[in-house]
C-alpha cells in the first residue's frame, strides 16, 4: 500500500507567554492510500493539533511530515495553499461556513481558488458536490436556514468539490445528534469505498467503530494503534426516503 501520509518524530509546542505547552510529543504515523482512520483521545490529547498539521493548517515545531512522499516543510506558502485547495478536504467541527452566503457559493469557494488551469464550470461542479451529499434541494439556502447536519454536509461538499485524495474531518459529528452522526459516517464509508483516504478525529468510540483503524492519543503520544473490522453504517434501518446517504452513487 502506498503511504500517503508519513509522519516522523513529530513535535508540536504551543507557547503561552513564556510557558511551553507540549501538544504533540514525538509521534510517528504512516497512513496508506484508501485507509479509513479515526484518531481518538480525550480533550487536550493533541488529536486536533495533529489533524491541523496533517491538513497543512498548522506547522510542526519539530519532525517531518511527508505528504505523498513530499516533505511539507520544504513547500512554499503558495504550494501549501494549493495542497489545501486540491489534495486535502477539511471538515471542521463547527462547519466554518461563510455566513450570509448560500450553500452553493460556499461549496464553490475552493474552485475559485483552484489554479490548476482548467477552466472549470464552478457552479456545475458545486451543484454536483451538493447533490452528492444529498443537499440538491438546499443550494440557495444560507447557513442560518440549515440544520446542523445540513451545514456539515455543505462543509463536506465543499471539502469534496475539488476531488481531493485525502479527507480530514475534525470532530465532524461533534455538533450533530446521533442519528445525523450515523448518516455522516455512512457518507464517509461510501466515499472511502471509492478510494478516498479519510481521517476522522473523534472522542466517541461509537463513531470510531465505523472506521477500520483507530489511533489512540494521550498527552500528545500514541498509546494504541489498532486495525479493526469497521461497523457497517448501512445496518442502520433506513426508513427515511430523503436519507441523503442514499443519493451517494
Amino acid at each position: 500500500m502506498t503511504k500517503v501520509i508519513q509522519i516522523k518524530d513529530l513535535v508540536k509546542h504551543y507557547y503561552v507567554g513564556d510557558i511551553v505547552v507540549p501538544a504533540i510529543q514525538h509521534i510517528d504515523i504512516e497512513i496508506g492510500q484508501g485507509e479509513f482512520v479515526s484518531i481518538m483521545g480525550a480533550s487536550g490529547s493533541g488529536k486536533s493539533t495533529l489533524m491541523n498539521i496533517i491538513g497543512c493548517l498548522d506547522e510542526p515545531t519539530e519532525g517531518q511530515y511527508f505528504l505523498d512522499g513530499e516533505d511539507v516543510a520544504k513547500m512554499t506558502k503558495n504550494q501549501y495553499a494549493d495542497v489545501r485547495n486540491r489534495k486535502i478536504g477539511f471538515v471542521f467541527q463547527n462547519f466554518n461556513l461563510l455566513p450570509r452566503t448560500t450553500a452553493l457559493e460556499n461549496v464553490e469557494l475552493p474552485i475559485l481558488y483552484d489554479r490548476s488551469g482548467t477552466n472549470k464550470n464552478s457552479k456545475a461542479l458545486a451543484k454536483e458536490a451538493l447533490i452528492q451529499v444529498g443537499l440538491g434541494d438546499r443550494m440557495d439556502h444560507v447557513p442560518n436556514q440549515l440544520s446542523g447536519g445540513q451545514k456539515q454536509r455543505v462543509a463536506l461538499a465543499r471539502a469534496l468539490v475539488n476531488s481531493p485524495s485525502i479527507l480530514l474531518a475534525d470532530e465532524p459529528t461533534g455538533n450533530l445528534d446521533s442519528r445525523t452522526s450515523i448518516d455522516m459516517m455512512k457518507l464517509f464509508q461510501k466515499l472511502n469505498s471509492r478510494g478516498i483516504t479519510i481521517i476522522v478525529v473523534t472522542h466517541e468510540h461509537d463513531i470510531a467503530s465505523y472506521t477500520s483503524r483507530t489511533i489512540f492519543l494521550r498527552d500528545g503520544r500514541i498509546i494504541k494503534d489498532r486495525l479493526q473490522q469497521a461497523k457497517q453504517a448501512a445496518l442502520i434501518p433506513e426508513k427515511d426516503m430523503s436519507d441523503p446517504a442514499e443519493e451517494v452513487v
Binding site: N52, G55, L57, D58, E59, K77, N78, A81, D82, V83, R84, N85, R86, F90, F92, N96, L97, L98, P99, R100, T101, E105, L109, P110, L112, Y113, D114, R115, R158, N162
Partner: protein
C-alpha cells in the same frame, strides 16, 4: 486567480454584507458630500460678492472731495467743495490711463410724475456714466454731450422710479417734475438690483450734469461736483491710473504734497479686497467644519472596519483553509475597499451636486463646486476606506489559518 474573478468575489462579498457595506460607504458619502457642499457654498458667496462689486462699475475709480474745515469746525468726508467741472475737463485732457470720466452732481429731490410722487437722488452725470457704472438703457435713449451743454431738461430714470411712478411702463416721453422743474423722460435704465450692502441701485434719476448743477442746485455755489467717476483702461492699470489721477489733480489744485490733497481716490479693487477677505474667512470657516466632518466620516469608516475584523478574520481563515493564497485574500479585500470607497465617493459627489443644485434654487446662494476640493475629499476618504479595509485583512492573512479560524 484572475482580477475579474477577484472583483467578482469582492462584489459578492459587498452585496452579501449589505449593512456593513452601506455603513462604510455612508462615512465616505458624508465626508465627501459635506466637504464639497460647504466649500461650494463658501466659494459661491465669495464669487457673489465679487460680481456684486464688479457690478458697481468697470475698473472703477471714485474721486471724492476731502473734508471741509471752517473756523475749526470740520465737515465729514466729501463735505469740502474742492472738485469742480474744470477738474473733470482737466482729467479728460491729461489722463492717459483713463477710458471714461463722468462727474456726479447729486441732490435729493421730490419728484412728481405719472401716478404720484417720490423722493430720491437725482444725479447729474455725463453720458459715459453708463459705461463706467455698468448700466444699460432698457427703453429710450441716454442724453448726449449736447444736452449737457444746452442744460436740457431731460431725465433717464432708474427701474425703481419707473415701478413707483409709471407702473404701466410707458414712462418714456412723459413729464417728470423735479423740485417743480419740468423734465422730459427720455430713457429707462435696465434693472441692476441691490448691491452687496443691500442698497437699491435702481432708485435714482439721471440728468445731464450741467442741468442738475444750474437748474436744480441753482449753480450759486459754483461748478462744484460731488464726485468724479473714472474708468481705467484695464484692471491691470487701476493702481497706475490712481497715481496718474492724483498727480494731475494735485498739480491742478496747486498742492505740493500728497498728504495735503483736498480729495481722496478709492478704487474698486480696494473695496473688492475688503469684501473678499470677509468672504474668504467664511470659506475658511466652512472648510474647517467640512474638514472636521471628513475626519468624523473617516472615523466612522474606521470603526465599521475594525468592528467587523473578528468576523472577517474568521472569513479569511475559512478562505485560506480551503486553499486561498495570501495574495488572493489581500487582493480581494483591497478590491472590496476600493470598490466601496469608489462607490461612496461617487455617491458623495452626486449628493453634493444635488444639494448644491437645491441650494441655488431655494436660496440666493450660488454654490460652486471646486473640483480640486472634490478631488481632495474623494482621495482622503478613499484612502481612509482603503487603509482600514486593507490593513486588518493584511494582519489576518499573516495569521496561521488555524489562529484565524479561532480568532475571537
Amino acid at each position: 486567480m484572475k482580477l475579474l474573478r477577484i472583483e467578482k468575489v469582492a462584489l459578492s462579498s459587498i452585496f452579501r454584507n449589505r449593512s456593513r457595506s452601506l455603513l462604510t460607504s455612508l462615512g465616505i458619502i458624508i465626508g465627501v458630500c459635506s466637504v464639497i457642499v460647504m466649500v461650494a457654498v463658501g466659494e459661491g458667496s465669495q464669487k457673489k460678492i465679487e460680481t456684486d462689486i464688479s457690478s458697481m462699475g468697470t475698473n472703477l475709480l471714485m474721486i471724492r472731495p476731502g473734508s471741509s474745515s471752517y473756523q475749526g469746525v470740520r465737515g465729514g468726508a466729501g463735505s469740502r467743495e474742492s472738485l469742480t467741472m474744470d477738474d473733470c475737463e482737466t482729467l479728460r485732457e491729461q489722463a492717459t490711463l483713463v477710458q471714461a470720466i463722468s462727474p456726479s452732481v447729486s441732490t435729493y429731490a421730490q419728484i412728481i410724475g405719472g401716478s404720484g410722487n417720490w423722493n430720491c437722488k437725482v444725479e447729474g452725470v455725463s453720458p459715459e456714466y453708463l459705461e463706467i457704472r455698468n448700466f444699460e438703457i432698457e427703453q429710450g435713449t441716454m442724453f448726449t454731450e449736447k444736452d449737457i451743454a444746452s442744460r436740457k431738461k431731460v431725465a433717464v430714470i432708474g427701474k425703481t422710479i419707473e415701478e413707483e411712478l409709471f407702473p404701466s411702463g410707458n414712462a418714456v416721453g412723459q413729464k417728470l417734475r423735479i423740485n417743480n422743474t419740468p423734465f422730459t423722460i427720455i430713457g429707462v435704465l435696465a434693472e441692476k438690483g441691490n448691491n452687496s450692502m443691500g442698497m437699491d441701485q435702481d432708485d435714482f434719476v439721471l440728468a445731464p450734469s450741467m442741468t442738475v448743477l444750474y437748474r436744480l442746485k441753482g449753480g450759486k455755489y459754483g461748478s462744484y461736483v460731488n464726485m468724479i467717476y473714472v474708468s481705467a483702461v484695464s484692471d491691470d492699470v487701476i493702481d497706475e491710473a490712481e497715481v496718474e489721477l492724483t498727480t494731475i489733480l494735485l498739480r491742478a489744485h496747486k498742492i505740493d504734497f500728497e498728504d495735503d490733497a483736498d480729495f481722496t481716490i478709492r478704487s474698486q479693487s480696494e473695496i473688492t479686497d475688503f469684501a473678499t477677505s470677509t468672504a474668504s474667512t467664511l470659506t475658511l470657516l466652512l472648510g474647517a467644519i467640512a474638514g472636521v466632518s471628513l475626519i468624523v466620516g473617516g472615523i466612522g469608516i474606521m470603526n465599521i472596519m475594525l468592528v467587523s475584523v473578528t468576523e472577517r478574520t474568521r472569513e479569511i481563515g475559512i478562505r485560506i483553509s480551503v486553499g486561498a493564497r495570501t495574495n488572493d485574500v489581500l487582493l480581494q479585500f483591497l478590491a472590496e475597499a476600493i470598490t466601496l470607497s469608489l462607490i461612496g465617493g461617487i455617491l458623495g459627489l452626486l449628493f453634493a451636486m444635488i444639494i448644491t443644485m437645491i441650494l441655488s434654487k431655494l436660496t440666493s446662494l450660488t454654490p460652486m463646486i471646486n473640483p480640486a476640493i472634490a478631488f481632495i475629499a474623494f482621495i482622503f476618504s478613499g484612502a481612509v476606506g482603503i487603509f482600514f479595509g486593507y490593513y486588518p485583512a493584511k494582519k489576518a492573512s499573516e495569521l496561521n489559518p488555524i489562529d484565524a479560524l479561532h480568532y475571537e
